[in-house]
Amino acid sequence: MNTQITNKPSDAKLNLLNVSNLSKMYPKKLALSGINLTLEPGHIVGLLGPNGSGKTTLLKILAGVIKDYNGTVTINGIPIGPETKALVSYLPDNSYFSPWMTPLNMISMFKDFYTDFSEDKCLEMLHKLGLNEKQRINTMSKGMIEKFQLCLVMSRKAMFYILDEPIGGVDPAARDYILDTILSNYEPNSTILMSTHLISDVERIFDTVIFLKEGEIVLQGDIDNIRAVEDKSIDQLFREVFKC
C-alpha cells in the first residue's frame, strides 16, 4: 500500500476534529497506535477496517466514552469532555436500552438530555421505518432496535455524528432508506463519521474514507481521488488491503 492521498492542509482552527498521536492500550493489546487525524466540517467519512482494527475504540474515544488514552483529541477546538458531548451525536455499537422501555420513554429522555433533539423528526422517521413508538424494546427484533437507535441519533441537530456500524443488522430495503435519511438530514456544516463493513452498500455516500489496520491509519483521502488513482471500487481496494 503505497498510495497516501492526503487532504490538503488547512487552518487548524477550522478543523472539526483534531486527533494527534492518539494511542490506546488495552491489557495485552495495543488498540490504537499513534493516530493522527483531522476532519473538517461538511463531510461524510467512512471509517473502514477489519474486525479488531480499532474502529470502535477510536469512535468511543471521540464520543467521550473511553477516557483513558494517550494523545490529544479536540472537537471544535475543545478537548473531549462534557462540552464536546453536547456537540456529538453518537450511535454506539450496541444498544443501551432497558428491556422494559418503549421508544416513547427514550424520546422523552432525549428531549430532556439534548436541546438539539427534535421529537417530531424522530417520530416521523420511526413511522417511515415501520416502528411503533409504544412497542416495548424487549419485544423488538435486533434490526428494529438498530433502526430506532439510528432514529434517535439522527433526530439531533449535532455538529458531529459518530455512527458505529449503523446499518449492520437491517435489511437491504431499510438500509437504502437509512442512507437516504442520513443524506437528507445531514447539515452542510456537520460531519458524519461512520464505521461499516458493508462498504459496497454505502460507498456512494462517502466523500472521504479512512482505512484502519491494526490500530494505524493506512490510507486516508478523498474517495473519488482514490477511485481514480486505483481504478478500483473502495470495496475492491478494501479486499486487497486487508486480504487474509
Binding site: G42, H43, I44, D176, L179, D180, L183, S184, Y186, P188, S200, E203, R204, I205, F206, D207, I223, D224, N225, R227, A228, D231, K232, S233, I234, D235, Q236
Partner: protein, 123 residues
Amino acid sequence: MTNQFQSNTPIYLQLVNNFKHRIVSGELTVGSKLESVRDLALYFEVNPNTMQRALAELERDGLVFAERTTGRFITKDKELIIKMRESVAQEIIDQFILQMSSLGFSNQEAVNLFIKKIEERSV
C-alpha cells in the same frame, strides 16, 4: 437511482457524463434551471460534496453556469451544445471501431455490418 454507478470510476465523473448526455440529447433544455445541489444529491443518492464537484466540472466546461443568487442553469450557448454532442458521438464511434478491430474485423467489414444492421432496424 441506486446502483447505477460503476464503483471503480469516480462518481463525480459519472455524474458529469450523465448531465452531459442529458444536455446534448435535449432532455435538459437550454437555459433551464437546475435543482439545488442538495436535491440533486438526494435524487442521485450521492454525497452533496460529490454533486458539488460534478457541477463545478460542468461549469468549467461551460455547460452549466451559476448566477449568484438564483442558482445554476444549463448553458444558453446552442453552438457549444452542438459541438459537445458531436464530441460525444465521436467517442461512441471510436469505441465501436476499437471494439470491432479487437474482434478482428477489417474496417470495411465493420462498416458493412453496421450498414446492414441499420437497414434491418429501419424496416
